[in-house]
Symmetry: D2
Subunit: 296 residues, 4 copies
């Protein structure tokens, strides 16, 4: 792990942090962290594993788990399970599909998932449930929302407002757009360290360690969705090169799962052309190859 | 297996065979076969496992293996590795992507793969190589092309001719369209039994049984592509419900792989709404669940 | 004219009123009115020409005239002048074109035009200017906004909110979406009779009658835009069958211009498959043919 | 006219000739010709009006006239009359519309029109009819097909072959693709001078001069189609800036009509960004403004 960390730092190409909000744009790209939690509960970390970063879309894994717990398979009436062939925030495909997002990991799909969790409550109550779920999963209460990031997402969130109103125009939004988006922007603004994130991912390796939050069948299905849809339009490439389920966020974090074996969190804020962490993807590719962790 | 076969036959919904050529349209839909070859080389079959069927797009797995063997990663200059968000024969996405097909399993991508194999030779020479590869993989010389099916595909192949000329207009075809398509239509018209197809898939489980035709690294990548792209626009659904790599054909066949454990061929000619075998998909879902074969 | 009115009423197919807001859906479709103002200032009417109807998108002609008067050709930096090949409220084409609407008569383009007029003012001030322009054009102060219709448009306006936020995400909106849309929904909710609307259209025939509000060059260009883009995705059909510039609204009104000769307003609330007045289009086709008014 | 010619030649920006076939690419762009035939039969020319150029898509006006003469309004079952919102050779829109081209002036629509004329005959017979129609219209037998251009179009015509096969896959092609395209490539390879082309366009001004080839009603409709669809995705811009019906070709020619008044042919091989003659468009804009010829 230390070797992996050292090797990655020798290559000067760190990618480019997300630029659509100042809070993400000004993050120093030359940072890297990795934490692996294995089935026996052991924790291995390297790099800046105590630095908090904005998890962004990685929370979509947790909100999907919560929404499935609340609504079961009825959720799939509102959102499909197919990889998205177009860019992650595209509204084109949404119209083509009659207002039913392709999967719960693109923005439109995650807005629907959040809307399902909100379910008429005040956003603060839904957020409390989401934060509590993640804290329980991670075994740590020291996980918080960065209000400045949430405010900035709201201020720069015209594309997401467009998606939410578009969903509403197809009757696929149960709450007012500003309520659902308020919840959405806040849970995307959660901050975690790689240690916290890897711990929070333990339930997805379905092993003896950590809290049991979903049934085995549902864990497998969530992992399948991460593999086919977890990296926007780079999902096929990630499956081909890395070979394990994972979910990325524009903050530079990735949660990856080796079923039965390990939960991995990596973070490096510079992104590749698909919008996924450049060094994070490299680290996972190297690790999966060295550890023989490909599921294929 | 016999139980699985019997259970499937009790449900009267067999789906609808492909209708675009008479040779496929007139096949009796109420047929089912399954063969499983395990890592120890044992063969388990049930149903009509000696009936030959048109493998159609299942050959794309073998032609991709051959093309990668011939050209290596240069192939990816001509075709991407991402799931296709639109219907399997759509020309729209091809224009959007500048003439580079999304993956080697949609028609446009498989035409490129075939074109790479043809490589200036006479179609008969390329076909001889393809057929020999599959015979070697299956350990059987009794595998042949159905000329009537190939002729019918040619006669009804306007959509594929459009794709080939479209690729040519983007300079992504090295041979004359009629040469490449002649090769393509013929290898899609191969006929196999489920026993032959499961045997031919042994090299993809990367175990001690059967001939070793690709490196472990390449086998894993091929399996990853099958998982993300193997079932047209139903790939996400197949991964979610079945959880193993597979490639379907409109003839009703599916080749599925449990890495290190088993190669499975199913066949039932009636298709579901995605164009994949209805009973075949059900059988694989049941088998994967009962045998705990999900890779997730 | 009376004959035209009588003939039209003998055919029982009145089309279907717009259904997206109750105020339009409950209008009796079996109504028809026509008013023609000729170059000598004479007014000819038939049918329900004193009934007020919701002009809806017909106001886009007037707001375009105002925006061109305020901003000149700079407006064309924000909106194109090409016919839209897709349905009138489609968001797909907007993304394809990078946030620059195809023309000022589709919803996205009219939102941009309204935004240009609003220009940092309070909506009430911009609305006062729009209403005053139309009153001056029509020579009548008895033209008002139906607040109930405006409120209903706002309540059911998710598609337009999506368009406005989408424009904002491309930096093609200068005012807050709710400000621009508030102005937009209100000027679409103007009510006029065919007499008032035909009078208001006099400046577009560029003859000696009525107020002179635009230069000859600009009038011609506005008429050209009406001809190529005035009837959503039925513009080509209207040009082919009727042969004069016109702009329709989902309230069932159409303003049509015979350059140098006549300004015509028709109204019948039932729509054809393109979203344009069914009887209104028929009436204009008949009138143009009988009067030899085609511009071609 | 001489003044117009001289003025145009002072501006050094001649645009870029079409580059997809060598025969067009190597034409010297610094050429310009214009011929105006007025309703009284007088001919006014300037520039290189005796130089023959490849008329290319301008023939689509004549083939549409012939197809309407042969098939009447039944033609509209196979092709629509709406402006195309996308680039002139796009296959995307064709799939979206179920194989019915948007209008007879985009490539797909002109292939259908040609197919309608071919109607089971040998291509040479259909071509004889097309050439004879144009010779009659022009009052000149010295109009010929450039076989080298036709051969080059065929050799580089993959995009058109794709369109033809695509139409065939939707059952919207009655003849074999190579038969219809053979006819299509040949009539596009006709060569004319501006004098010949303006003469050939006389029947579209529907005045007392020249042969009467279509009824007044049909002439008007053809002119309407030229106005809304005659300049690919620059049709709206041409209508806005020039204000008269016209049809352009990638050879740099434009035929434009002032109904009842004049038929105009311009030629300059350099194209603007829409694929229409740059100097030709400028000349028509200037002429229409000076002569007050806008139809609006």
């Amino acid at each position: 792990m230390s070797e992996l960390d050292a090797d990655l730092r020798t290559d000067a190409n760190w990618g480019t942090p997300a630029s659509y909000i100042p809070e993400l744009a000004r993050v120093d790209p030359a940072q890297f962290a990795i934490t692996v939690v294995t089935a026996d509960g052991k924790i291995h970390s390297a790099g800046d594993s105590d630095t908090r970063f904005s998890v962004q879309s990685v929370t979509k894994v947790f909100t999907l788990a919560i929404a499935l717990g609340r609504s079961g398979d009825q959720l799939w009436q509102r959102v499909s399970r197919e990889p998205s062939g177009l860019a992650f925030n595209s509204i084109v495909q949404l119209e083509h599909e009659g207002g039913r997002p392709r999967n719960p990991f693109i923005n439109a799909g995650a807005i629907v998932t959040t809307d399902e969790i909100l379910s008429g409550r005040a956003p603060r109550d839904a957020l409390a449930e989401i934060v509590q779920f993640i804290r329980t999963a991670a075994g740590s209460d020291d996980i918080h929302i960065n209000e400045a990031v949430a405010a900035s997402e709201t201020a720069h969130g015209h594309r997401n407002f467009a998606l939410a109103h578009f969903l509403a125009s197809f009757d696929n939004l149960k709450n007012a757009p500003e309520m659902t988006l308020g919840t959405y922007f806040h849970h995307c603004a959660l901050e975690m360290t790689t240690t916290q994130l890897a711990m929070a991912g333990r339930f997805l390796m379905d092993a003896a360690t950590g809290p049991r939050l979903l049934s085995t069948a549902r864990v497998r299905r969530l992992n399948a969705l991460m593999l086919t849809c977890g990296h926007y339009d780079g999902s096929g490439d990630f499956a081909y090169r890395v070979g394990i389920p994972g979910k990325s966020g524009v903050g530079g974090g990735i949660l990856a799962i080796v079923p039965g074996t390990a939960a991995i969190a990596v973070w490096s804020p510079g992104l590749n052309r698909y919008g996924n962490s450049l060094k994070g993807t490299e680290a996972l590719a190297t690790l999966a190859r060295k550890m023989n962790w490909s599921i294929f």
